[in-house]
Amino acid sequence: MTDASRPETSPRLAVIGAGPAGLAATLAAARHGLRVTLVDAAPEAGGQFYRQPAAGLGARRPQALHHRWRDWERLRDGLDRHITAGLVVHLRDHHVWCVTRRRSGFTVHALLGPEQERPAEVRADAVLLATGGYEKVLPFPGWTLPGVVTAGGAQAMLKGGLVLPGRTAVVAGTGPLLLPVATGLAAAGAQVAALVDSADPRAFVRRSPALAAQPAKLAEGARHAARLLRHGVPTLVHHTVVEAHGDQRLEAATVAALDTAGRVRPDTRRRIGCDTLAVGHGMLPHTDLAEGLGCRIDGVAVHVDDEQRTDVPGVWAAGEATGVGGAVLALAEGHIAGRSAAARLSGREPDPRGWAGADRARAGLRRFAAAMDDAYAPPAHWAEQVTDDTVVCRCEEVTGGAVRRAVTELGAGDVRTVKLLTRAGMGWCQGRMCGTAVAGLAGCPETAARRPFARPVPLGVLARAGSADDEQ
């Protein structure tokens, strides 16, 4: 594994997450003097964005489902080269549950195996968190019916399994993911009965100077829009899904127009038959590992400086974990983080001129992401659609009414107290699914939850974890 030009004593960086940010960081760090251990939960690199079909499926043209295929090929080839050269170790199927600080350096604690029950510990001089994001889910009556999926879930099925999740689909919610999901489903042969967007992307195009500065994004949007037209997908803007219907599984969805205040206009309700309803409302950053390390979190994202450093020495972060902004922004942030880590771990002051291009891209794309956030917010009064008997927390089967009563009758004022009083967010997903919904129903701001375990860990593993380390 060792490389003649890179002694065993050169600093080691652990990069957690092999999506766009993690791959860009790995390549930059390896190219500039570090040994890198790339730790990732998936069997193949790429993350959610470059998710690959399982090899056994023998897909002939997986790129048909991806844009930016050339970026991916460049990253994949670079990774292969660095692995061959012994500069990068790629640990697949490693599910990281915690990162701890030692007196000097860090230990990454992971679980292996189909049951995620075997421990593995990776030691490094520094860590770079590229943990990505997860989908924001908002409940509505009927959302737990089989056939209702998240937009990202539908896309993952398309990219990973090449299976068509249903035959007649409605794609709904808000955010930039809806267009590619709708066109992807249509291209794969589904009839997309409607694309239902609670925002109006045209208004966004008109008012956003940040978009005008992103011709590539404009072109990408135009390509998707043209594909929608080609597939004859009707688009309903300023509309929202009010309810999903079905007995055993999804049979139809009721959609309605929104007024200017973001409230449903009851007279506009209409029913659309469908067996698949893909709903997306954007993404949230994965911050568990950063929180466990004590990194500062701003709102729901990991705080970083211009070099992508967190406020904990030796910990960098890049990509969606530091604020959701898409794969191209993640590439730029990952590159900068990798360059910074390479310089600082080698005892050099980094020269930002070395990554001026990435810096410019990052600035523009962050402005773009902020504008997108403004344009693609869920309807202001979405919580009013959640009836008292709608299940909000699926794991613990907590209803909207129970959450409301915790606030009005029992004095809960934040997501944590609602959780303690109702059990919403105490189940397997630890509130990743219902956190936004509970905050919305309780009328309190959404904050990053404290989850020192990024995933469940067997007590037998925990009882020995890091016992060989000199933790602080």
Binding site: G294, T417, M426, P458, A463, A465
Partner: protein, 381 residues
């Protein structure tokens, strides 16, 4: 000046909720004020132990026995809503020396009114079938019980009928010309009352300072582990006998006392560690690892069970390990009900009852001398 109410209780945790309940039931008009939500401090980070088993004879045990009787009374009206479970405790000893010490300890407790039944090694597994083999024996404490602390605090406040004012920070204690309390100043206006109860838990020292008096409440950090939901396998509150020694210890080093118990909702709770590290909220593996190690030693089947989450809280303690309960002679009208360390849920009902008796001019049913808040000196703040 017009009064807002008879009593302001600062703190909507378990102690404040119990003070509000018993004061209201004594006929007083109560306002509970908290800068956070209900149970937002240590209460929401606790396990809900109502224990007599871990207390040696003395004032704390008397308070625990009084509190236990009051909890039993409350269980009749609120039992299910606060997940009250009179499950009893089982303390086990690994070796004959430990068992002898435990049995001596239990004999002393029996003389003080505790029900404690010696359990031989052969009977342990009838009580707890999944316990590790080879233990020397134990003691069963039927009076030990459990509540879900956040639910308990919220429902006691609600049952009290007191006005609850959350998200409101007390910024000063108002005092008249004579020095007596006449209410509190908050970031949302003043609340006028002739009595103020400091039930601010770990932050009780800060509230005392607002009234100009010294009360040295300090935080002790405790982690609790929560497993995935399981079918009922742990029937009692089960812990190793060294827990008793830990509770009475003054050591600043890490001590871990794996109390293991099932919950009504299914998860097993394991806790809590005890560390003096100030208000440090960051995750720390060593105490959590020690909890897991201790729990799996007691119940080997737990090795394959997953910990879903861990949470931490800051238990408020005073230098002599007893809470501050009762009127503060340095500031007429100020009462304290804080500093219960890891036993605050269990001791809250007795504390609330005693405070209510003082507030309504009755003589308290326990001698408050050991708990008097001025016992740490007159140091001005």
């Amino acid at each position: 000046m017009r009064l807002t109410c008879d009593v302001v209780v600062i703190g909507a945790g378990m102690a404040g909720a119990a003070c509000a309940l018993y004061a209201s039931r004594a006929g007083l008009d109560v306002v509970v004020v908290d800068r956070g939500p209900v149970a937002g401090g240590t209460t929401g980070a606790g396990e809900g132990n109502l224990l007599v088993s871990d207390k040696e004879p003395g004032p704390e045990l008397e308070l625990a026995l009084l509190s236990g009787r009051l909890w039993t009374g409350l269980a009749g009206e609120l039992g299910d809503r606060i997940e009250y479970e009179p499950k009893g405790g089982v303390v086990v000893a690994a070796d004959p020396e430990g068992l002898a010490a435990l049995e001596r300890f239990a004999a002393g407790q029996r003389a003080a009114g505790v029900t404690a039944e010696n359990v031989g090694a052969d009977q342990l597994h009838e009580l707890e079938p999944h316990l590790a083999p080879g233990l020397a024996g134990g003691v069963r404490y039927p009076q030990d019980a459990q509540v879900m602390p956040t639910l308990a605090a919220a429902h006691l406040v609600r049952a009290s009928g007191a006005r609850l004012s959350t998200g409101r920070t007390v910024t000063g204690v108002l005092r008249g010309a004579s020095g007596a309390v006449r209410g509190v100043r908050t970031d949302h206006g003043e609340i006028h009352a002739p009595a103020v109860v400091n039930a601010a838990g770990t932050w009780g020292g800060e509230v005392a300072a607002l009234a100009g008096v010294h009360l040295p409440v300090l935080p002790r950090r405790g982690f609790v582990l929560v497993t995935e939901p399981l079918p009922p396998r742990v029937r009692h509150k089960v812990y190793a006998a060294d827990y008793v020694a830990d509770v009475a210890s003054d050591s600043a080093t890490l001590q871990t006392s794996p109390v293991v118990e099932g919950t009504a909702a299914g998860p097993v709770l394991i806790g809590a560690s005890r560390e003096r590290v100030g208000f440090d909220r960051s995750f720390s593996l060593p105490p959590v690892r020690a909890l897991a190690a201790g729990a799996t030693r007691l119940f080997p089947f737990l090795s394959g069970v997953r910990a879903m989450r861990t949470y931490l809280g800051f238990r408020p303690y005073l230098p002599d390990r007893l809470p501050a309960i009762g009127p503060d002679p340095r500031v007429p009208g100020l009462l304290h009900a804080c500093g219960h360390e890891g036993a605050g849920i269990g001791l809250a009902t007795g504390t609330g009852q005693l405070i209510a008796q003082v507030l309504s001019g009755k003589s308290p049913e326990l001698d408050l001398t050991p708990f008097r808040p001025e016992r740490f000196g007159e140091e001005t703040v």
